[in-house]
């Protein structure tokens, strides 16, 4: 009896020590997974403050953008605990929630009123899945959307202004509509002088090109389908969308040469290397343009929000950005929750914005200090209230491949018939895909 008690005592002590060591080791370090870009470095800086306050080390682990999705899901699918939190794309919400990879944050949202703290669009697209379900899986972390940079000096040149007015009958200024965007692009397109009209996204490896096309589609008043009923036919291939895709193809005609695999670096470079008059990009990449050391034209670079459709309304923009989720396989979920509690505090959000992060916090966004902090924050602020996003269903990557398969050859090489033919073909494939996964009626 005594012996058994002794044995259990020893075992108990051993477990306590082991457990103590383990839990201490666990509490000391958290890992957040994100892509390799500046905001991730800003987040690391912010997290360093958390370390200073609490002693908990937070490491932001990064991987190049093209591999980000692959790597994150490889880890999820293996139920790995390498990452405690992940700053994932909005499209991942479907797979993350239905696949059981993300921890349900609905209670956390209610408890801390996160829905009231953050800008409505960011809550809707970065956090909620399925749409309007009231279930939340992420905290909006980095707000982002597509906007435009342009060459103020080219636009303001009196000679150019005169020539433009003579040709198009209205004043050369920041474009209000896609029609004007096209006119200006055409106007500045002078290949013999190695000067081109417009730089747009064309990389079809993931969602880059679609971001540009979405911007046009949404502003033309179109949609990618009904996200609640999964109805696609008649919406994706609507006359507005046909016009928008056709517009994107026209814009490509005024892009610099070899513009067929282009994402954010090249579009920024179009401005720094005096290649294009206007350039599409995510706001998160504009700091490089506002920086004199990296952009010799920083002083003459202006920014504007995505223009409206041809009738001057509606005006929308494609959403980028990410929310932060807790990985359900993490063994440090409590510590992760604590970090998120700290992260959503107003002071933290203010600090986050100061460091260069794009806060989604409503009050910080609306503050004068934020809107004047950089030349593009005002355009960002306006944009964040008119963003729309892609499908967030678990099979979103298949939808992406299918639309890329048809729209990319059309935009780049004019293949596949008319814009209508192309969108009809995509629509058919999307309908089949949804049927395959048993969505909708």
């Amino acid at each position: 009896m005594l012996r058994r008690n002794l044995a259990s005592l020893v075992m108990g002590v051993a477990f306590t020590i082991a457990g103590g060591l383990q839990s201490r080791a666990q509490a000391e370090e958290l890992t957040i997974f994100w892509a390799e870009w500046d905001p991730a470095n800003y987040l690391q800086e912010l997290a360093n403050l958390y370390t200073a306050e609490t002693g908990v080390t937070v490491t932001v682990q990064t991987t190049p953008w093209p591999d980000f999705q692959t790597k994150a899901f490889a880890e999820f699918n293996a139920k790995g605990d390498a990452f405690d939190m992940v700053v994932g794309d909005s499209q991942w919400l479907g797979a993350g929630s239905t696949g059981g990879h993300y921890v349900d944050l609905t209670n956390f949202f209610a408890e801390h009123k996160v829905g009231d703290l953050m800008a409505p669009a960011t809550v809707k697209y970065y956090a909620e899945y399925p749409g309007n379900s009231g279930k939340y899986w992420a905290i909006p972390l980095e707000g982002d959307a597509a906007g435009w940079a342009y060459r103020k000096d080219w636009f303001e040149d009196p000679k150019e202004k005169e020539a433009f007015k003579a040709k198009y009958g209205y004043d050369l200024d920041v474009p209000k509509t896609y029609t004007q965007l096209r006119d200006i692009a055409e106007f500045f397109y002078r290949p013999d002088k190695k000067q081109y009209g417009i730089a747009i996204y064309t990389d079809n490896g993931y969602d880059a090109m679609l971001m540009g096309i979405e911007g046009a589609i949404f502003s033309y008043g179109g949609d990618l389908g009904d996200y609640a009923t999964y109805k696609v036919d008649g919406i994706l291939n609507s006359p507005q969308n046909v016009a928008a895709v056709d517009m994107y193809r026209q814009l490509y005609q005024f892009a610099p040469p070899n513009w067929g695999k282009v994402f954010f670096q090249e579009d920024n470079q179009a401005i720094t290397e005096n290649l294009a008059a206007m350039s599409l990009n995510f706001f998160a990449f504009f700091p490089a343009l506002a920086n004199k050391a990296t952009n010799p034209n920083a002083d003459v670079t202006g920014y504007f929000a995505n223009p409206a459709g041809p009738d001057g309304k509606p005006q929308h923009a494609a959403l980028g950005g990410q929310g932060i989720s807790i990985v359900s396989y993490s063994k440090k979920q409590d510590a992760s929750f604590k970090f998120l509690e700290w992260f959503i505090k107003d002071e933290t959000q203010k600090k986050w914005a100061e460091l260069g992060g794009y806060t989604c916090n409503k009050s910080v966004l609306e503050s004068d200090a934020f809107r004047k902090a950089t030349p593009f924050n005002e355009a960002f602020y306006q944009t964040m209230f008119m963003v729309k996003d892609f499908w967030a269903v678990p099979e979103y990557a298949e939808l992406l491949t299918q639309i890329n398969n048809h729209v990319y050859p059309y935009v780049i090489s004019g293949e596949g018939g008319s814009a209508k033919d192309v969108l009809d073909a995509v629509s058919k494939e999307w309908v089949d895909t949804f049927k395959k996964y048993g969505r909708g009626g």
């Binding site: 890992t31 892509a35 390799e36 870009w37 500046d38 470095n41 800003y42 690391q44 800086e45 360093n48 370390t51 200073a52 490491t59 682990q61 990064t62 991987t63 190049p64 953008w65 591999d67 692959t70 790597k71 490889a74 880890e75 293996a78 139920k79 790995g80 390498a82 990452f83 954010f264 670096q265 090249e266 920024n268 470079q269 720094t272 290397e273 990449f285 504009f286 700091p287 490089a288 343009l289 506002a290 920086n291 004199k292 050391a293 990296t294 952009n295 010799p296 260069g356 902090a373 950089t374």
Partner: protein, 318 residues
């Protein structure tokens, strides 16, 4: 007649030498360009016409080794003045180095470079050793279904790595080899083994059996004969095989990306990731490439005598 031929031959020889020199220059020009870009100021990296003459600087390497972010507002001149010179170079480029408390934060590059070294060297040693003895076994002893076995060995190199990636990933998870040095070492050994066996078998076949037989007659055991007679004869082949295995393991990208998260990450996936921040900084990518090419180039140059003599498979005819 013979005189004509030989003078014509000489002329041909000269033409050949001149053309090979020219071709070598053309072949190496992209490398020259990468190498110089590693020392260029950022603003000169993408000029047209290309910049050939410039003041070389070491800033790209400082950038490569530190964790930096874009400056979103002008830096404080007082802080600038108090910073060490290398940090000032970063400020000049419109960026700042991250700090944890007072300490400068290094990029992942140094750490990943070390991992690459450890993993590539050890896996090369294992792949070459196993390849050598297996090749010896195949070369000297008869075995039922030998040809099929050899074809099987070769076939393991035919699989697109993506075919095995998912099962491998899950298998590694189960046995806990994920994100470990050992995991990658084993994986790269498996990659290189078939190549190593095939190459070494070519060499083993060429080493005359009579050498060993003489040794056996002299009272050596088979093992002693292998180590003391055969191995020294095979050094050339071993060196050549090692170079190829090292190159493969050193540069492997896809699995390094998939199988590692923190501890065992290697450098190849890191170098292209430097395109991440707003604008492509080609000087940093070039400096990362330049440093990364050094070990493998040094290794190859050190073994070049063997390599040139060595990659002969079954071609040395007596």
């Amino acid at each position: 007649m013979a005189v004509v031929t030989s003078s014509r031959k000489k002329a041909f020889n000269r033409v050949a030498i001149v053309s090979i020199l020219l071709i070598t220059l053309i072949f190496l020009s992209p490398l020259y360009w990468i190498g110089t870009t590693a020392f260029k100021p950022r603003s000169l990296a993408t000029t047209v016409p290309p910049t050939v003459l410039f003041q070389p600087e070491i800033t790209p390497f400082i950038k490569l080794l530190t964790k930096r972010v874009q400056l979103t507002k002008a830096y404080d001149p007082a802080i600038y003045a108090a910073s060490p010179w290398y940090e000032q170079r970063i400020y000049d480029g419109g960026e700042r180095i991250l700090r944890v408390g007072p300490n400068i934060q290094l990029s992942q590059y140094p750490n990943r470079f070390m991992n690459s070294l450890i993993i590539a060297i050890i896996s090369t040693i294992i792949a070459v050793s196993m390849g050598t003895i297996t090749a010896y076994g195949f070369s000297r002893f008869k075995m039922a279904g030998e040809a099929d076995l050899l074809f099987f060995v070769l076939s393991t190199r035919m699989l697109p790595p993506i075919v095995v990636a998912i099962p491998m990933y899950l298998m590694y998870r189960v046995v806990g080899l994920n994100d470990t040095h050992i995991g990658l070492i084993i994986l790269y050994t498996a990659f290189n083994l078939s190549f190593s066996v095939w190459l070494m078998k070519g060499f083993m076949d060429e080493i005359p059996k009579e050498y060993e037989e003489a040794a056996l007659v002299d009272g050596y055991t088979r093992l002693q004969a292998f180590f003391k007679i055969v191995l020294p004869e095979a050094v050339t082949g071993i060196a050549a095989t090692a170079v190829f295995c090292f190159i493969t393991a050193w540069n492997e990208y896809a699995f390094a990306l998939m199988m590692t998260n923190r501890r065992a990450q290697t450098a190849p996936p890191f170098i292209p990731s430097q395109i991440g921040s707003g604008l492509t900084d080609w000087t940093v990518i070039a400096s990362g490439t330049f440093l990364f090419l050094l070990p493998v180039a040094i290794f190859t140059f050190a073994l070049r005598k063997h390599l040139l003599r060595g990659v002969t498979f079954g071609a040395i005819r007596k």
